[in-house]
Symmetry: none
């Protein structure tokens, strides 16, 4: 297997201003490709520190993946450090300069002198195109090792990595041989320890595959990691575990691979030719936002209401003032009336309504922070459920929206 | 100033299963205390790799902060690695064993043999209490350096760090003298390189304070990092730069410190006793979600519409079908009509409407992906602006919502 080391450059990481999500992304992608990540080093915005991190990485791995420090300002020093590490100099890449100038022309603004720095790369290295930003990447070789440098901005980095770097890494890994296969199974509806209990012996550390769990606001993802002499062997072992897990967990599983809960719901709606609308109170638009995160959501998502105030619930969704007065805005009755009203007004096949207390204020002994009612309405009737979610405001809102999507998913799988 | 290096242990980081949030937390806390974090190294669950990372850290810093690898299972090897690094052996800490046994008795379950491993620490080191879990921390000294080892579970780590480790680090830092002061200034409306140009000489690498930038979907945060012999000196230097930057950037600055754009808008609305409503198409609820992320948003946020389909724009917001037919749903005219309609229906003092193409599909030469119209309506009239945002679907949506909030912020600061 090819070995990789990840180098992150930036004071923003060492000062805690920014969480290093790039490493997790890159490590995940490399692992999927079968490349073993042996270490990660973070250096501040200083030439000496960056050079040191490059040396450490080169000492440990064949592939050195660097992010950060390619911006236009004086604290962006990865170019300089890389040149010194390679024992060479920076030179102006005229084609690259033209590209950067073109980007500014396209945006109709003048290029600042700072940006010219971004057209310099070490002698003998090549620029990697950045199709959405001015910071080009750099590919260099050193004593049989390959160094890829990318900007630190996550979406620029991801696009560059997938378009221009991953294909070469795949080829390198194929030549090296030895294969790791990763499968992901995503569940919603039970916690990690309950799911681990249901999988029992499969979780043993002595087995191949290895089973790992990650958890994100109610979603439990099972990672099956298999190693084999070749792809066939590894895939077969993974297949066997995947089937076994699928059987044991049943409806708790909403997808395999990278498909999110909202994408699964979207696919089900498209398959069945059905439409949806939302009526939200405490989640404040988060549910609609999650549904429309998926490209092509306009095929099934008609509209959403964020009826934060009581009068909006009454005026926009036709909830009877009397229902709110008698039961409160946070009640099973109000949730159901919101869902029904939204269906009548939108003409959608399915509607989801959420009303609750996201906190930190507004809770009482009878109606604590985290109390949420979720109602799904369709031709078949109205299902309303009560939940008490734990956590802070952001996680209560996220859990509520995800639980709502999961209720709709289960309904769509039956209907 | 005291120098620290952070060592993270765990395959889950190097495989991308888990994002390393511990480092950002620790780096932030250390920096607040005035300790300079010089590097971060991540090692997998292997003794040799952990020892190597400890050596790197000891080479660079006086304080070595380690997280992870203290669990009860066979892949938790930080204890063994630390003992070998210290050139000593693990020994059973009987008091610690009693504590761990006590935890299991308290939970009413029998202790597994594995957990006994957690009662071993290197000779000469001391255990650090874990009041919510079975993994105790370890404090060790080595050639004048201090090593703190904590469990990797974020909430256990944080509690242990704040209760038992930070007080000692503060004392060490006080003895060392030298103080670091950090200020944050948040801007919106120009890119990083333009802002750096406006700050000119202030960005020089040779100065104290040092100026750094972080960028997040249009928000540029300027970090002023000042070092001084004592707090007074550092604060005075920081004050001077802050004033200077405030003067140079003017209205580009929306806040100082940790206040987000949506919180600033919320504060302005509360100050002025005004209310708001939203009408969104391409952002699909994101703007309403951001506004309601702030606790207490019900004081000024009345309601929101997500009018994804044309018929919803017509029916809910009273946009004339003719306007959409003549100009298209993505047009200045439609945006303005959405904002006006939302104000009429909601009775809010201010309304924001967004319509655009978030992509990846749906663009054309005349109306490319990223084209967004944002309209702010109030008693004073309707302001509609056209933007072309770059990036993927998620960042176009985020930029659109943030730009909308910024337009409202600027309006509120004048009104």
């Amino acid at each position: 297997m090819a070995m990789a080391s990840i180098v992150t450059v930036g004071n923003e990481i060492l000062s805690g201003y920014v969480v290093n999500t790039n490493t997790a992304y890159l490590a995940g992608k490399l692992l999927e490709t079968g490349v073993c990540v042996v270490s990660e080093h973070t250096a501040g915005d200083e030439e000496e520190a960056i050079i040191k991190a490059l040396r450490l990485a080169a000492d440990e791995a064949d592939l050195i993946i660097v992010t950060g420090g390619l911006g236009p300002t004086e604290d962006d020093l990865t170019r300089e450090a890389l040149a010194r590490f390679l024992e060479t100099e920076l030179e102006l890449d005229k084609k690259l300069l033209q590209k950067i100038e073109g980007i500014f022309r396209g945006r109709g603004i003048s290029m600042s002198a700072n940006n010219k720095r971004q057209a310099f790369i070490p002698k003998g290295a090549t620029a990697i195109a950045n199709i959405i930003g001015t910071a080009a990447g750099i590919r260099a070789e050193w004593k049989g090792k390959i160094i890829f440098v990318m900007p630190g901005v996550p979406y620029e980095m991801k696009l560059m990595f997938e378009k221009s770097i991953l294909p070469e890494i795949k080829k390198i890994q194929d030549k090296k041989g030895g294969v790791k296969v990763i499968r992901k199974i995503n569940c919603f509806g039970e916690g990690e320890s309950k799911i681990a209990e249901m999988l029992g012996d499969l979780g043993s550390r002595e087995r191949n595959p290895q089973i790992n769990y990650t958890v994100d606001c109610g979603t439990v993802t099972i990672h099956i990691t298999t190693t084999g002499r070749d792809r066939k062997e590894a895939e077969e072992l993974a297949d066997k575990d995947e089937k076994n897990i699928t059987k044991r967990l049943g409806k708790l599983i909403f997808s395999k691979g990278d498909l999110s809960l909202e994408e699964v719901v979207g696919e089900l709606l498209v398959q069945k030719g059905k439409t949806i609308a939302t009526a939200e109170s405490c989640t404040g638009g988060l549910l609609a936002k999650m549904i429309t995160d998926a490209a092509g959501a306009s095929r099934y998502f008609l509209q959403g209401w964020v009826t934060y105030s009581n009068s909006a619930k009454i005026k926009e969704l036709g909830v009877e003032a009397d229902i709110i007065e008698r039961n409160g805005a946070i009640s099973e009755e109000t949730a159901a009336a919101m869902a029904k009203g939204a269906r009548q007004k939108s003409g959608a096949d399915y509607t989801i309504a959420i009303t609750g207390i996201a906190g930190p204020e507004g809770g009482s002994e009878q109606k604590p922070v985290g109390l949420v009612f979720i109602s799904v309405d369709s031709e078949g009737g109205t299902d309303t459920k009560k939940f008490v979610f734990r956590g802070d405001r952001a996680s209560i809102r996220k859990r509520a929206a995800k639980t709502a999507l999961n209720l709709l998913r289960l309904k769509l799988q039956i209907d």
